[in-house]
Symmetry: C2
Subunit: 238 residues, 2 copies
DNA sequence: CGTGGTGTTGAAGGAAATCAAGCCCGGTGG
DNA sequence: CCACCGGGCTTGATTTCCTTCAACACCACG
């Protein structure tokens, strides 16, 4: 399971732990683009691990505005924390065909209870995702649209690499500009102008299928990307 | 310990678990305003539980811009997740005199290993904090300065109430407008104008010591505050 | 009394939103 | 086959909001 591979970055799991984790997988499923994996307001949402493809989390306001909080890449977990809440406070939608493993939350709870190191490892994984959220807050609050966009692209490149999926480099971010504008919290028009400028600067390219990174070092320079970010596998032994 | 009281919202801990958690407390300390509890770049930052007073988390960019990500209220945990990382990616600074309990991370890890329900409870607590971060993302991305500010004040009122501290209502948010501007991601001047307008509308008041909520229902109306937010104690039994 | 940090307000400038128009392209159906 | 349609993309013009700049009041503190 891809997720287990990813957890290896933190600590080597032994066979017993890996097998225990594997018993939590109920089913594996493939769904088309635009599928809702979780819907805002759902009761007791299930937990998933993304195996292949792109998705995103969004939150809708009552008046229709939406904010995209996060993209999900292969290896990412969905709804592990949400398992503790009675209602989902956000929606998860696929952007491409997505393969995912459905996790039984009750079984997961049991497994963690008998494999404490596993619990700590999942906690680490959640902490890593939280650092991604914090970075988005910094970007939204302080960075210009250009910096923010460049930073997002580099972040996603890193996360796809860390996720352990095969097709590391040369991926396309399969977004419409409208979606991207709801990630960055800016208007579609301004999103377009910002993209065009990055294309003119030769750091990205656009096609009908999405956005491609051409010059990652350039994007790092533009966004003043912190090399430390997402690269902290340290911490105490457990 | 205040933190234990707060966890009660999720699940009743038994005596053994409460005692086990209590053994993680190394020292209790009182520090003056403007004390750094954690500094960006620190190695193996310790974990704390805030017992009294206000603090905030901030992140500095290399060029000096800063974003305040969060306020910490009594009952909040600091650095539990950070225990898994080798370096702190943000700074925590006190705004008032603060009393806190220092937690031994290694001991905490042991305690969780032998008390799995405790691990799950801490996980729930972390998940709740994550929902606060997500809400900040929504505010920064979609809400106007006025909505954002009103929303923040109501969120803090709720969290202070949930934290289990004694002085529930009628608290003062001890912020300078410069600090607040770095929370909202707007300029100090615009922060001032937004505050003045809320004062004119009779929903808050300012004094030399901080900002006071006068009309919480009014603030809820202005920010379109979701009653569900921070009020989800449900989820599966563990 | 100065001095520096904070708050307040007006005026000017700039960044992003909004409004508006046209383009490209894939899909559909006459 | 091609006309039509709709969604997404692109670009210019205008408007709005927020920032920046500037000046001054206030007050705690040495």
């Amino acid at each position: 399971m891809l997720f287990i591979e990813k957890l290896r970055r933190f600590t080597q799991l032994n066979d017993e732990e890996r097998q225990a984790l594997a018993t939590c997988v109920e089913t594996e499923k493939v769904v088309p683009p635009q599928t809702r994996l979780v819907s805002q307001g759902d009761e007791y949402p299930s937990a998933y691990v993304i195996e292949r493809g792109w998705s995103f989390r969004q939150r809708l306001l009552k008046d229709g505005r939406r904010q995209v909080m996060n993209f999900l890449v292969p290896g990412d977990a969905v709804g592990f924390a949400a398992a503790f809440f009675s209602h989902a406070d956000h929606t998860v939608i696929t952007m491409t065909e997505v393969r995912y493993a459905r996790i039984d939350p009750d079984r997961l709870m049991q497994v963690i209870a008998t494999n404490p190191r596993l619990g700590a490892t999942l906690f680490w994984s959640a902490a890593l995702e939280e650092s991604v959220l914090r970075e988005r807050i910094v970007s939204l609050g302080q960075r210009t649209a250009r910096e923010h966009m460049a930073h997002l692209f580099v972040e996603l490149a890193e996360r796809v690499r860390n996720g352990g999926a095969g097709d590391n480099d040369a991926w396309l971010l399969p977004v419409t500009q409208i979606l991207l504008s709801d990630v960055l919290g800016i208007s579609p028009v301004h999103t377009n102008r910002t993209i065009r400028r990055l294309v003119r600067d030769g750091v990205i390219e656009t096609s009908s299928r999405g956005i491609a990174l051409i010059d990652e070092p350039g994007l790092r320079r533009i966004s003043d990307f912190d090399e430390q970010f997402l690269h902290d596998d340290g911490g105490p032994e457990i």
